[in-house]
Symmetry: C2
Amino acid sequence: MSIESSAGRAFAPGHITGFFEMHDDPDPRRKGSTGCGVVIDGGIDTIVTRGVGKTEVYLDGASVKADTTCSLIEQLVDFPVHVNCTSSIPIGCGFGASAAGSLSTAYALNDAFSLGLTSNQLVEAVHIAEVSNGSGMGDVEGQYFGGVPIRKVPGCPPYGVLDRVPSPSFEVHCIVLGELSTGSVLNDAGLMRDINSAGRSALRSLLARPTVTNFMEISKQFTLKCGLASDRVMDAIEAVGAAGGMASQAMLGDTVFACSVEETKKDVFDALSTFAEVTTYNVTSCYEHPVKF
Amino acid sequence: MSIESSAGRAFAPGHITGFFEMHDDPDPRRKGSTGCGVVIDGGIDTIVTRGVGKTEVYLDGASVKADTTCSLIEQLVDFPVHVNCTSSIPIGCGFGASAAGSLSTAYALNDAFSLGLTSNQLVEAVHIAEVSNGSGMGDVEGQYFGGVPIRKVPGCPPYGVLDRVPSPSFEVHCIVLGELSTGSVLNDAGLMRDINSAGRSALRSLLARPTVTNFMEISKQFTLKCGLASDRVMDAIEAVGAAGGMASQAMLGDTVFACSVEETKKDVFDALSTFAEVTTYNVTSCYEHPVKF
């Protein structure tokens, strides 16, 4: 592949949060969320080159506003760049796309312009961009860690403390049913009190029995307690349960994610298919990384 | 694959340390090393089942003593187990095999006997086993993190602080020239003073310019300063340099690891081949994980 010399490319995976608790802090590096989610092999692949005039971000060929990515870029370089993102996850549906876009951009910039930053420094810059734009809840820390990351203490490294639910690679089946405004949830003080209380007890339960099955069950209970699920999300979660699988809602999206043992995989897939088109991802022991041209 | 019900299987990758500094501490969880290395796709694949009479560890079909793995097992279960390890890395040559054997055993035990531990808890148990047996210098933390892990603060999570050199997947070519006794190095107080002083300044240099090229150069300087390299290791390192690649010594082994840009890859491989059989691994964005049967 022929590419101009000051170009960089990187991939960052999507991250689906099952439950969470928000933590405020005057220091943006310590602000964030605790909770648990899954990191998937779908994500955002980004190529950056030096821009002309002003910074422009393209997503799957279309020019986009990308506030978080632009905040991230301003922290790292003082010249315009051209950012070309290709996504294999839905945008704005609870797949951590804004963090994946920013994180892949950070790695690509580091590579293209020899910024000489470590992974922790890149993650910190993305974390600050996410927190100041209110677009993320700890997705970047998950994407940086891989697998089934547990966020035990909020914040970017070295402030945040991460752990993992030990797990082999497994499939998650996802359907997107509509849109859910992150802002409308995060700005509702009463709802956030319920979420934080439910999120705190969910984390305690998960740490007492850190398995994927328990993560799925606790996530479903969290969704039910907080009343975040639309009727169709509830119906889809129940249909998966009836088919012998486990499902919950992606935080924050009008999205259902499901998994199952091998024996009921086809039934779970078919149950979800009656609601919307199903996309299947793998949860693996991998994380973000620059990509060689 | 048919397997009895209380069986577990896991993989842990090898880890080659390029430079390090030892840190003592009365708390074994805070004792360990700082430094940097590479995590490779070769490692140890372990199957555990309930044992009969006493715990037995097999490596590639032969019964082995495996002190570190036995210490680990005693921390996690109070009944005998049968451990069957298959290795794709050399043993006792600076590839972190003792940590990989113990870490894969820890994950497999957790899975087989539903121990209900998180990854951090499993890593802590392996870390304590390594430190108390004097067999490891932080390999387990690297294997748990993947890629090109920088150990900035010693100890297992959450005490230790890890970072990464951002890097795409790349190949490392390895040759094993003989044996190096870890104990003879770690018990030589004068040598350890030199190692620790060189390791401290190596880490500072790496953090100032965290790239794979700089890691390889700093590692080579560390080897030269400490005088750990045998004549043949020195010759192999020089031969790789003359072939347009970068090489250093695996800590602690009579082993050389090398990498290069695409253009000189064949020359580097050929240069190494004149000393011993070359094995090539990939450094990827992956880490330890249980394996589904």
